[in-house]
Amino acid sequence: MKRWLLLAVLLCSSLPFLLAQTRTHQSGTIVRMRMADCIPQHRIMAALSGGRKVPTGELCPEYVLVTDKVVYTIVGKESDQLLPLAEITRFRLQHNEMLIRIDDANRESRFHVLAMTLRPEWDRQQRRAEEEEAAVMTEGRQ
């Protein structure tokens, strides 16, 4: 009887924790990917505050990940930190870093968050870029 009681208490106490875990995970879609200069750890804050990036000579993958509300630009810490480009990418944020579990990997991969843009603003920028491209095309035809 005591054992059952203990089990019930344990379950009840771990439930909020499990729910919190689920809530912290978000999902989005990677829409852009390029190889960009890797950023040394100590330069991340400078990059985030708009400072100049200092190239290390090595190339790391940089992704644009779109969610419902925010668009993140993230960069890998190593050159071989390639993400599978699935339709849905699940992630969580922790201390200015994005943690993404790749496939069945035991631990999550950490990416630096380089920039964050609100989704409506990003959508506007995309539309503007498309319009400019269309205008150039029309100009080219005339």
Binding site: V31, R32, L82, L85, A86, E87, E133, V136, M137, G140
Partner: protein, 333 residues
């Protein structure tokens, strides 16, 4: 070959439409095929009008928009074996930074024919290791291996220019007899030779023919008029794949080895060190030919210039994809 966007034609000549923009080889075949008959009718009408107006010498420009990219690629698993069963959801294309998952079409490519040019560096620097390697390769690249004699050509290079040993009539034994003797102080026009071989393979073949260049070299160019970039561009334009066999000791990484790796990588081919055994080369060629796929998708960006392309897995990180490194897109004038 890069298409010249549009072409101005005198009215009395038969009108010809060129695709606007991207690399003719990579872009637009599917869309062109779909629109072929209405375009043909339109052109027929135009040429009729042209014939009916003698003395009128005004120039007419015909344009056709190209909106599709066509990409052929191979897939291998973690053991470097070809993957023959692949689905469209297994990969995404990154075209000039933009991730493409919506494809117009995805098919397995049934290469039924191989057109092979073997390009042999006979300069002094590689001569001692050469003959046995070439003998082995030519033995396996024979009619018995499914490659008809008429689709095999041999080119050697040393001195100031490449020389064609045999084109479409290469028998292994005879070809070896005809390999030039090595001279001391030999020069190596590697890039010129790749451009030469690309021109040999440039004739448009049918859609079921895979064009392959097997290159034996140490990767050291000493005299070419063309650059490495020219050689890569020529290979891309001819839609050929380069399988490079490095004749330098692979344990000793050299600039030549890096050049060979780059040439192979840019065309979706592979690099092998000679000590790995030349039979591996043909295995790779045949395996790639049987595990090749073609995907078409809407041109994601009309930005002019080179569109780098790479294919990445969507869930199985062990999958490796090989395709050409990109294509050129030029806007119509």
């Amino acid at each position: 070959m890069l298409s010249g966007q549009t072409q101005r034609l005198p009215q009395r000549k038969t009108p010809k439409v060129l695709h606007e923009g991207a690399d003719e080889a990579a872009v637009g075949r599917t869309s062109t095929a779909r629109r072929r008959w209405p375009v043909s009718l339109f052109l027929l009408a135009c040429s009729g009008l042209a014939l009916g107006a003698p003395g009128d010498t005004a120039e007419v420009t015909y344009r056709a928009n190209v909106t599709e990219v066509r990409l052929t690629f191979s897939a291998t698993d973690q053991n470097n074996h070809g993957v023959a069963t692949l689905q469209a959801v297994d990969f995404a294309v990154v075209d000039r930074d933009i991730v493409v998952r919506d494809f117009q079409s995805f098919t397995r490519t049934g290469w039924t024919k191989l057109q092979v040019v073997v390009l042999i560096d006979t300069s002094e620097s590689v001569a001692p290791r050469l003959r046995q390697e070439i003998t082995d390769t030519l033995r396996v690249i024979s009619p018995d291996a499914g490659i008809p004699e008429e689709d095999l050509s041999l080119v050697s290079f040393h001195g100031i220019e490449p020389s064609l040993i045999c084109a479409g009539n290469c028998r292994a034994s005879r070809a070896l007899d005809e390999l030039p003797a090595v001279e001391a102080g030999g020069l190596t026009p590697l890039f010129d030779s790749v451009v030469f071989a690309a021109a040999l393979l440039a004739q448009p073949g049918d859609s079921e023919t895979r064009k392959v260049l097997i290159l034996f070299s140490d990767g050291e160019d000493t005299i070419s008029r063309h650059s490495a970039a020219d050689a890569t561009a020529a290979a891309l334009a001819s839609e050929l794949r380069i399988y490079a066999v490095g004749l330098k000791n692979a344990a000793d990484p050299s600039p030549g080895t890096a050049i060979l790796r780059n040439l192979a990588g840019a065309t979706g081919g592979r690099f092998f060190a000679a000590r790995e055994g030349t039979s591996k080369v043909l295995d790779a060629v045949l395996e790639d030919a049987h595990a090749t796929f073609t995907v078409t998708y809407k041109l994601p960006s009309r930005a002019a210039g080179f569109h780098p392309v790479r294919i990445l897995p969507t869930h199985d990180a062990n999958l490796q994809f090989r395709c050409r490194r990109g294509y050129y897109y030029t806007r119509g004038r």
